[in-house]
Symmetry: C2
Subunit: 89 residues, 2 copies
């Protein structure tokens, strides 16, 4: 999984997360931090404890603090996601 | 200018800002808040005190705290922008 930071302050970090086909960011949660994902390209699923939500370009997903979430690339190409975290980790 | 909130917590607000042709959000600044814009559709300019930056789909722009910024729709159609503010206003 590749990461690139686009903007960072104490309050916010915006960056790109890039998943190769089959790559997965396993279920995890953050205390005191909210995250929004905006899917830019590719196909995947947003993993929740009891559900999987399809990801494709244009989809916006939120992971509020304490909510376990993950991402899996289920497509044939790269899955590119804009991730915005507040506050910055 | 139309606004719609997509996600909101104390730490972050993510929403859509929609500008009709010719509409403008004049130069303004926020203390203690950072903002990131992701252009989804349309054409416009990102206004700074001493520059104007072209806006089109895919462009990401940051307005850190204290930096005067604005947006003007210079296109023939709607300018749609994902705006993420931290913390939420």
């Amino acid at each position: 999984m590749g990461k690139a930071t686009l903007f960072r302050s104490e309050r916010m970090m915006a960056g790109l997360n890039c998943f190769e086909p089959g790559q997965e960011h396993a279920l995890h949660a953050h205390e005191g931090m909210d995250k929004v994902y905006h899917v830019l390209a590719g196909e995947g699923v947003f993993l929740l404890e009891d559900a999987e939500v399809p990801m494709s370009a244009g989809v916006l997903l939120a992971a509020p603090e304490g909510v376990p979430h993950g991402i899996r690339n289920t497509g044939q190409g790269r899955l590119l996601v804009l991730a915005i975290l507040a506050p910055a980790p």
